[in-house]
């Protein structure tokens, strides 16, 4: 969570609010924030930490695991119209990559602004696919613009 807190300004620069969710109570969130997060990151978490004690929100998004009574490690990127544009679910032992979530967000915003497509490994500054079309027709000519080295 501290990693999200560190990158929170980057999300705000991209016009994005961060909402984190677990089944813990507001009191437990407060305790975690005071005892750990605010000590690891200046100011701590400046975004709302949602309490989902019965896993209802997790269930709405299909990520509540009744076997463990907790929400799965997952994220959803929701656009300004309220539409889900990205989602990822990980097994509990694996932490996520916040930089990758930011990359997905930048790519989605770039697509909505320009209509361009961002092939494998795209980062700001790398070539995009600018030919008009949908993701299926455009991707058939990807070899004209994209080279494997662009993936890394």
């Amino acid at each position: 969570m501290a990693a999200v807190a560190v990158k929170y300004p980057a999300f705000r620069e991209l016009g994005t609010e961060v909402l984190t969710v677990s089944v813990d109570s507001v009191t437990t969130h407060k305790e975690w924030h005071e005892k750990e997060l605010s000590l690891m990151v200046k100011g701590g978490a400046l975004f709302p930490m949602i309490s989902d004690p019965e896993g209802k929100i997790g269930a709405l998004f299909g990520v509540y695991d009744a076997r463990t009574g907790s929400d799965l490690r997952s994220h959803f990127l929701i656009d300004p119209q309220g539409v889900v544009q990205a989602m990822e679910i990980l097994a509990a032992p694996i932490g996520r990559n916040i930089a990758e979530i930011l990359r997905q967000l930048r790519a989605l915003q770039h697509h909505q602004a320009t209509g361009e497509f961002m092939p494998c490994g795209w980062e700001p500054g790398k070539p995009t696919l600018t030919e008009k079309g949908d993701a299926f027709s455009t991707s058939r000519r990807v070899w004209e613009t994209w080279k494997p080295r662009n993936a890394f």
Partner: protein, 47 residues
């Protein structure tokens, strides 16, 4: 019930810890901006 890409995110209203206070949060209040909704198994663990 799950979610697919292109679906409207289901709305919810819940309580959150926010900068020292308890705050009511409604997802639809964030229309007009992007939202990263991030679930994790438990406090005091990694994200």
């Amino acid at each position: 019930m799950g979610i697919q890409i292109g679906d409207k995110a289901p709305d919810f209203r819940v309580e959150a810890y926010s900068q020292g206070m308890t705050q009511a949060i409604q997802l639809s209040h964030y229309r007009g901006q992007w939202v990263l909704l991030l679930f994790y198994p438990a406090d005091f663990t990694f994200v």
